[in-house]
């Protein structure tokens, strides 16, 4: 069993607060991603889980036992570092065997377990090589094997895929996910790449400046973002965030702005109650429709730029002083500076408070 709980976890380095009051609970066997831009504190949080940093405040509990003061060597965790940290002077076999040798296991047990771990990540034929002779992907597998050979109760991964080329990354994503499912081991992945987090993790904890922005499944973060940061971070191309005014006309609620006039569906309007003033509207590029020439839409503007991506095009449109990003199907013939009209989605309007950025449901 490996339940992990972070409660009010805080880490300060002098005047800098790297992690601020992080609350997180992982069920046994769960795969959670700590996602966020650089400097958001995710690696610091991971290192606190590993025991390499001591929390300034807050608690870390493994299976309901507080482990703040437990040194890394006693925590029974496996960790893969971003640089892999394979000991360059040892062979692959010795690298993987190292944790077991430190435990003074008998050598036949060591040999057996090292081979098992190597087979698990498919590097059996590389055991005699040195890390310097391996490719990036192979090194990563060795690092994984070394982390898993001691049968840890949890696996910590620090940006494991960032040093790999694009193709290898896709491959290893699936590999790691498969491995985690197969072993059922509680895993925490740190990454700045939202695609990685979305494809691999059961749940995602999105952090910014040391604070948790939202914790939820990929769908939660994508379709029910808690604030503008989450909304803008998750999804490629990113969601367009526009400022508009809430106006009430004939008993209906309308979002008004320079070049846009979007009616709000009745149920959403009901939840808005008596709110007035400015509001931030989020529109996903795939939800906005480009209307045929001459059509009157809820948004009107000029094309700013067209980026062909093969299967579809990303079109940036200026609406008033703001920019809306739209995904257009292949074949769209618009050009920069041409006027264009767009329809906003009925069901997929995201509304946020303009001052706090929190979602208004």
């Amino acid at each position: 069993m490996a339940r992990i709980v972070l409660e009010g976890l805080t880490k300060q380095f002098g005047a800098v607060t790297a992690v601020d009051g992080l609350d997180l609970a992982l069920a046994d066997g769960e795969f959670v991603a700590l996602l966020g831009p650089s400097g958001c504190g995710k690696t610091t949080a991971l290192l606190m889980l590993a025991g390499i940093y001591k929390p300034t405040r807050g608690q870390i509990r493994f299976n309901d036992v507080v482990v703040n003061d437990l040194p890394p060597q006693d925590r029974h965790i496996g960790m893969v570092f971003q640089s892999y940290a394979l000991y360059p002077h040892m062979s692959v076999f010795d690298n993987i065997a190292f944790p077991l040798r430190l435990q003074r296991r008998p050598s036949d047990e060591i040999t057996r377990r090292v081979r098992e771990a190597a087979a698990l990540v498919q590097i059996d034929m590389l055991l005699d090589r040195r890390p310097g002779q391996l490719s990036g992907g192979q090194q990563q597998r060795v690092a994984l094997a070394r982390a898993l050979v001691k049968r840890p109760m949890m696996l910590l991964l620090d940006e494991p895929l960032s040093n790999l080329d694009a193709k290898l990354r896709v491959l290893m994503r699936a590999e790691i996910k498969r491995l985690q499912r197969q072993l059922g081991i509680t895993t925490i992945l740190v990454t700045h790449d939202q695609v990685e987090a979305m494809t691999m993790a059961d749940r995602i904890a999105l952090l910014r400046d040391g604070r948790l922005q939202q914790l939820g499944t990929p769908d939660d973060l994508y379709y029910r973002p808690a604030n503008t940061f989450v909304a803008g971070f998750i999804g490629t191309p990113p969601m367009s965030l526009l400022t508009a005014r809430l106006a009430r006309v004939d008993g209906r609620v309308v979002l008004e702005g320079d070049g846009l006039r979007i009616p709000v569906p009745a149920d959403v309007a009901a939840r808005l109650a008596s709110r007035t003033g400015d509001v931030v509207v989020g529109l996903r590029p795939e939800d906005v429709q480009l209307l045929p020439a001459g059509g009157a839409g809820q948004m009107e503007g000029r094309i700013l730029d067209v980026e062909p991506l093969g299967r579809e095009l990303v079109v940036a449109v200026t609406v008033g002083q703001q920019i809306v990003t739209v995904l257009a199907p292949h074949g769209f013939a618009g050009r920069p500076d041409e006027p264009v009209a767009m329809a906003a989605p009925d069901r997929r309007l995201y509304l946020f408070d303009p001052d706090t950025g929190t979602a208004i449901v």
Binding site: I52, P72, G78, P99, L102, K150
Partner: protein, 314 residues
């Protein structure tokens, strides 16, 4: 858009013929260096060999005697003892201090906060930075055979009679005297090497279950093998050819018991005035030095020091 072309080519006078100007530049910049090193470095090296073939003495009289001096090595009654002294001196100073103590100090001072570590390292650098005569003065005070010497004062507190440490164990004295100086170079080099071991290796080892001792033994030491080898090789040559401290503290004595080869050269040539024989002895060292210099070149792969220059040859 228009561009302004600098008017260099118009106003500058025609340059002198390239070859002559080139040579003038080379002469100006490299000349002094070449002149000085040839006169005071290269020529003396050759001269040592030539002198070794003579029996020049203090009154500057003598003639060429061929290889007689070199043949005379075998008949020299002092030489065996001198060679033994040298081997013992170089080996023990190198292993116990230059490398041994250097490693110990480097390892220990990197396990504690850096500010404190720097203080201890600074203390151990003090002997190296002290003028040689002053350092010798401190040692002479320490080994002073009368009851006023520091060592003998301590012995007095313990109820022991005064001891002449140099007579009692000349080897011990010369090893420690030079060792305290030698340790600091290894310490600085090893400290730098230890600090440049990437933090991730240490962290990975901790997660793997390693204690600090394990980390030193299995991660740090293997990763600083190259600097250790460098210090061993480099300091062996340095120890073979150094003798100032021995001269100052023990004078090579008692008798010749602490005279190492390099000091023996000095004694024969400068103190006794046997320039010819002394040069022959010195020539052996010159050869050793020349071979070692070649060896460094290959071994340490200094090729990369000779990277391409910035300016094309004009």
């Amino acid at each position: 858009m228009t561009t302004q072309v600098p008017a260099l080519s118009v106003t500058r006078p025609a340059p002198p013929r390239p070859a002559r100007r080139r040579t003038a530049l080379v002469a100006l910049f490299l000349g002094p260096f070449v002149l000085l090193t040839v006169v005071f470095f290269v020529i003396p090296a050759v001269l040592t060999g030539l002198l070794g073939l003579t029996d020049l003495d203090a009154s500057f009289q003598g003639g060429v005697v061929g290889l007689a001096n070199f043949r005379g090595f075998a008949a020299d009654p002092l030489l065996p003892r001198v060679l033994l002294n040298t081997v013992v001196y170089v080996f023990f100073t190198l292993m116990c201090f230059n490398v041994g103590m250097g490693l110990v100090l480097a390892l220990m001072t990197t396990q504690i906060p850096d500010r404190v570590g720097t203080v201890f390292r600074a203390i151990w650098l003090l002997p190296r930075l002290t003028p040689q005569v002053v350092y010798a003065l401190l040692w002479l005070w320490f080994v002073d055979p009368t009851k006023y010497g520091f060592l003998n004062t301590l012995r007095g507190w313990l109820g022991l009679a005064p001891l002449d440490l140099i007579s009692w164990s000349p080897w011990l004295v010369i090893v420690i005297v030079n060792g305290l100086i030698g340790a600091s170079l290894g310490m600085v080099i090893f400290t730098s090497a230890i600090k440049s071991v990437p933090e991730d290796y240490i962290r990975a080892a901790r997660v793997d279950g390693a204690s600090t001792f394990h980390i030193i033994r299995y991660v740090i030491l293997p990763l600083i093998r190259w600097p250790v080898t460098f210090v061993i090789v480099y300091q062996t040559l340095a120890l073979l050819t150094s003798y100032e401290y021995i001269l100052l503290v023990t004078g090579g004595g008692p008798f010749y018991d602490s005279t190492v080869y390099a000091l023996y050269v000095f004694k024969r040539a400068i103190e006794n005035g046997d320039y010819g024989y002394g040069a022959a002895l010195a020539f052996v060292l010159v050869l050793v030095g020349a071979i070692a210099a070649q060896f460094y070149w290959r071994f340490l792969n200094f090729e990369r020091m000779i990277t391409q220059p910035k300016i094309e040859s004009d």
